[in-house]
Symmetry: C2
Subunit: 352 residues, 2 copies
């Protein structure tokens, strides 16, 4: 165990060839006589040499063969979000043929987690900001300064990053018009995190000023462009439980809304749970709508009224952007359309 691992030079020496030839024998690039290759491979076998050291190879080549996926929250939360998972899967699938690996990175430094500096020191060829396209993410700048190309999903619209996003505003607006056309006036919003700092609860003006996520901001703007200013409860992360908390909060007040616009399907499921815990029927007593268009097994036969985004395609396209960047190209931004799906969780408000 103490002995050092065999190196390519050692193998070359044993095979009686120069290191350069040994390298050629392994990498396959360049002409090598079959006999020589055999000799090198045999020597490698004798010495227990399992191929060139990835680190040395990467240093020389100038690339690591690794793509970083920045996910904002704890792995657990990101993985509970079907949208994030599908996205990562799409990236992984697109990357697979080239043998590129996917490295999970945590964006926001929290208790015990590595510093942003540390994270940006990871050897990635491209960084994908998967679930946290915050406008002013320091990590984003760090990667760019380092010369690492960045793809931002639903991310900030900056000239130096490639953006893949959906028509957040358009979808949210169409959804809002649907709710309005049913006759609702008293509407409230269960919002995605405005910023990843763990805060939750009712959003006041000060808090509202710092909305850092493009998607969250666009959806909220669309809703308020239809209904005017509405009460907003913020969930600290995109999970059912937090949707339930936000729902309880919104339904507790004296002026109970007749419709709640949740900024994601997971939050919507939570809101529905909160409503039912209070004895409210959905949609008879309360209309609840979501965003994303994921499977919602929690709801049984009911179909959530929501905006369906092309998740799988988003993932695939993101993956393609990455491979293009790896190939040295500068791909154009992509803006995907969404579609309103009217389900069984929206209805006219109860007549008083």
């Amino acid at each position: 165990m103490g002995e050092h691992r065999a190196t390519l030079a050692a193998v070359a020496a044993r095979a009686g060839v120069s290191p350069s030839t040994a390298s050629l024998a392994f990498s396959g690039s360049g002409p090598v006589a079959d006999a020589t290759r055999e000799r090198v491979l045999a020597a490698a076998r004798d010495l227990g040499y399992a191929g060139p050291d990835p680190l040395a190879r990467s240093l020389r080549r100038g690339r690591s063969g690794i793509v970083g996926a920045v996910i904002g929250e704890r792995l657990l939360y990101a993985f509970r979000d079907p949208v994030a998972v599908a996205l990562l899967d799409g990236i992984a699938e697109a990357l697979s043929p080239s043998g590129t690996g996917l490295l999970l990175l945590s964006g926001d430094a929290q208790h015990g987690s590595p510093t942003t500096e540390q994270v940006s020191r990871m050897p990635v060829d491209v960084a994908v900001f998967a679930t946290c396209g915050r406008d002013d993410d320091p990590l984003l700048d760090l990667f760019l300064r380092r010369g690492v190309p960045v793809v931002a999903v639903d991310g900030p619209d900056r000239p130096d990053v490639t953006v893949v996003d959906i028509d957040d505003y358009g979808g949210a607006a169409e959804l809002a018009r649907h709710v309005a056309s049913l006759g609702h006036h008293r509407v409230a919003v269960a919002a995605l995190p405005l910023r990843l700092d763990g805060r939750s609860g009712r959003v006041d003006d000060a808090r509202r000023a710092i909305v850092g996520f493009a998607d969250c901001r666009a959806r909220l703007a669309a809703t308020e462009d239809v209904f005017g200013p509405v009460p907003v409860a913020e969930a600290p992360s995109n999970v059912v439980e937090e949707g339930e908390r936000a729902g309880r909060l919104l339904l507790a007040g004296p002026d109970r809304p007749t419709a709640i616009v949740a900024q994601s399907d997971l939050l919507a499921v939570g809101v529905i749970r909160a409503a039912e815990a209070l004895g409210l029927r959905v949609p008879q007593d309360l209309t609840v709508v979501g965003y994303d268009g994921i499977d919602t097994p929690w709801l049984g036969e009911r179909l959530l009224t929501t905006v369906v985004q092309p998740i799988a395609e988003k993932g695939r396209l993101t993956g393609r952007m990455v491979t293009e960047l790896l190939a040295g190209q500068r791909p154009a931004n992509v803006h995907l359309p969404v579609r309103l799906r009217v389900g069984t969780t929206s209805a006219p408000p109860p007549s008083r």
Copy 2:
């Protein structure tokens, strides 16, 4: 864009110090006068130098700061499996303080995916076989040959790898005895993949001989030690849909079982769906039991009878094993206990 990125040497030259001093100024290890450090940092700022190149640093240090997580199937499938996700989350959490990254690796080479060779060339300090502790995984040997320590979860019991697993046999046996004590004799099994080759359907003797996964094998053995040989339907991956297919298959025959033992909760949910589609009531007409003890929102108020494994702890412990290996130690194997949870999906067989 064409100009080469600044190097530490360039920064050192501009600051009027030697590269060694500049290195010290960045890494912080070793004594550097404050004034000197300032000068170096200023030079770095001028040159747009964002810190040492991770690849070079890794080569010199001999470690990459990356841990590989080998997940057997497509990302999408692994992420749909709450057990796998919780495991990864636990690892990520344990790794977080040290700033170590988690690299997702696909174990089994399939269409379009990188070869096993390619995967084993990733610069990882430790490899965790997260959801695919196949006994004879070639990837496992490749990593070991390369000198990369391996942690196998539910993995093969080999002297050269660290194993974290649960009492699969014990749990499955207790579960089987529970089912037997209810009076069931005609029992069938909906099995996890015996091997990751996409095959599904009824398992004959030839197929049975190649059970490659320790957990799957142990659970099956325990069931048959109680009931004797039973019909087995194999799911090609651990998702609800495949459980449903397996369920339909098992329920289709002339000699319909009165109880189906699913090797995971996800499969059990699928089996229940299949049963209900056939007009069978669970548990009155059919007993269905699972394994894992995850949340099953699909079942509404019903509680699955299952074996609960300590998922979160498994993840944490796996993470700890990894950090110990990174510290150069050789941790001992861990074997976690499980617990039978009797829910509302098991009952005596219908009287004829």
